[in-house]
Each structure stands twice: as structure tokens, then as C-alpha cells.
């Protein structure tokens, strides 16, 4: 299982790009961290999600 934004998902083995393509995240408007390390956009397609990975996908929201 891979923990993505706090949710346990059965996506180990697929690449980050593959996972994102099945979701409605706007890939141009997100930043991704895997196990506390930022993943540059050009590595999305080569990065395979592994069992136990903790993934954070963030974007901008309103704030002060």
C-alpha cells in the first residue's frame, strides 16, 4: 500500500505518472514529495511507487 495524502491506496508498482493520469489532479499545479523528498516533475514518469511510500501532493490555496 502507498499512503497518498493520508489515504492508503493499492497503487504500489505503478509510476507516479500512471497514478496521476487516473486521478483528477492538475499535474501542472501540484508539487510532489515522496518520503519527505521533493520529486522534480521530470521524474514523475520514471518513479515507481513502492509499498510503504508516503506521498504528499500539494498545491496553492488561499491564505494570509
Amino acid at each position: 500500500m502507498v499512503r497518498i495524502n493520508g489515504e492508503e491506496l493499492d497503487v504500489a508498482g505503478s509510476t507516479l505518472s500512471e497514478y496521476l493520469s487516473k486521478t483528477d489532479y492538475d499535474a501542472n499545479r501540484i508539487a510532489v514529495e515522496i518520503n519527505n523528498n521533493i520529486l522534480p516533475k521530470d521524474k514523475y514518469s520514471k518513479t515507481v511507487l513502492r509499498d510503504g511510500d508516503i506521498v504528499e501532493i500539494v498545491s496553492f490555496v488561499g491564505g494570509g
Partner: protein, 256 residues
């Protein structure tokens, strides 16, 4: 007036009103930015949602500088982590450091803020630290590479106004960087007063978000901030300690 620029980390701005984007609807952001005349708007970084129609970046006019904050950070490491993610989002190098340990008063942790400023300035960020107005910490922030200091006027979101006035004045006198009053400013008159004192800019969010008409209040703040700036540049007239001073000639008619 046209050559009166606010300079932050080498970037020039003619507006001295930094607008927050929290707590009001995305559809109001564009008019708030326009009516505020704002050239800098703050944002927060949070877990992304999957609704493509609700990205705040689509509501911010082009050419406005984005100032992500590190809200949610409880220490320097978390602030650094958020700042790096914000930069990865690809909207520039500006970062407003906001580190809070308590959720009741939401006061900034000054010492952690100095640590985060030091790390992020070395990484090339334009660092804008939100702080409790303390001269010694402000000096540490200057030495750590901050591009300005952002002292609070009163507790964040309180709309209570310039409760820390004396201490902000000290920062204005002693700190060789823009002093941007952030947090607690609730009314245009308070923003004007801070600008008359020599504050370089005002950051406001809740004052607008909780107003009856967000865009109209944005324009009221714009005018107040400009009025205060002009008064500061014009240098305020003196105050008499006692007595009066006539504004009209006292001789030349009737009794002379």
C-alpha cells in the same frame, strides 16, 4: 510619487498593499486584487484537491507576484519543507515565513523564524519573515538574510489594530529593511496610521475577508495606505505641547 518604490529582495513594487487570499471566495479574488491595486498576494500550500476547477492560480490576475506562506509549520524544519514545495510549484522564489507553535494565539515563533530565514536565504529565496516585533530578533533576521521584516500589529485575524505600535516604531527606526506591518490591522485608518509612522507596506487579509463588501474594503485600504504613505513622505506637522497657534493672520483688520 511614481519613483517611490517598495523594494523587496531587489524586486520593485509601486503598490504598498500586500493582499491575503484566505477566508473569502475564489471568485472575489480578482476584484479584490484589482480594487486593492495589489502587486503581491499571499497563498498557502496544502494537500491538493482533485477538482481542477478550483485552483486559486486561475483567479489571480497575471503579473501579480505570488507570496506563498509557510502556515502550518510549527518549527523551522517544517517551514523549510513547505518553502521548498512552494518553490517546486513554480511560481517564484518569494516566501513568507510563518511559524506558530500554539493554535490559541497563533503567535509567531521568533527564534525558529530566524533559523528558517537563515536556511532559505542561503537557498536563494526572497525571505519575508512574519514576526513578533522584537528589535533583537529583527536584527538577527537582517543578519540571516531576510528581505524585509513583517511584525504583527495585533493577534492574527483579530482586526484589533496597532497594539504593538511602540515596538513597530522601534523597528522602523532601527532596521535597514522594509518593515511591513502584518496581522491584526482591521481598519483602513489603522493601516494609514502605520504608513504615516513609516511602515513600508501593509499586509491585510481578515479585515477584507470579514468585511461586508470585500472589493470595496480593498479599495478603502488602498486609499488609506496611499494617504499614509504620502503623509509620511510629506513629514507630519508638529504637535504643540500646549496652547494654540492661529492659522490666520492676527493683524490687518478690525483691531490693529
Amino acid at each position: 510619487m511614481t519613483d517611490d518604490k517598495l523594494i523587496i529582495g531587489g524586486h520593485e513594487f509601486t503598490s504598498r498593499f500586500i493582499l491575503g487570499s484566505g477566508k473569502y471566495s475564489l471568485s472575489l479574488i480578482e476584484s479584490a486584487v484589482r480594487d486593492a491595486g495589489a502587486q503581491i498576494i499571499t497563498l498557502a500550500v496544502r494537500r491538493a484537491n482533485t477538482n481542477k476547477n478550483e485552483n486559486i492560480l486561475d483567479f489571480i490576475p497575471k503579473g501579480v507576484t505570488l507570496l506563498p506562506n509557510t502556515s502550518g509549520a510549527r518549527n523551522a524544519d517544517e517551514a523549510v519543507r513547505i518553502a521548498r514545495l512552494a518553490r517546486e510549484l513554480g511560481c517564484g522564489d518569494f516566501i513568507k515565513i510563518e511559524i506558530m507553535r500554539d493554535t490559541k494565539y497563533l503567535l509567531p515563533d521568533n527564534s525558529e523564524t530566524v533559523k528558517a530565514t537563515d536556511i532559505l536565504a542561503r537557498e536563494g529565496f526572497v525571505v519575508m519573515p512574519y514576526m513578533y516585533p522584537d528589535l533583537n530578533i529583527a536584527r538577527d533576521l537582517v543578519n540571516a538574510g531576510a528581505s524585509c521584516v513583517m511584525p504583527l500589529a495585533s493577534p492574527i485575524g483579530s482586526n484589533k489594530g496597532l497594539e504593538t505600535k511602540e515596538f513597530i516604531k522601534i523597528l522602523i527606526d532601527e532596521i535597514p529593511l522594509p518593515v511591513i506591518v502584518d496581522a491584526g490591522i482591521g481598519r483602513p485608518s489603522q493601516a494609514c496610521e502605520a504608513m504615516e509612522m513609516g511602515a513600508a507596506a501593509i499586509m491585510a487579509n481578515t479585515a477584507l475577508a470579514t468585511a461586508g463588501d470585500v472589493a470595496l474594503m480593498a479599495s478603502a485600504f488602498k486609499l488609506a495606505i496611499e494617504a499614509g504613505r504620502r503623509a509620511y513622505l510629506a513629514k507630519l506637522g508638529r504637535v504643540l505641547t500646549r496652547g494654540a497657534s492661529a492659522s490666520d493672520p492676527l493683524t490687518g483688520f478690525l483691531h490693529d
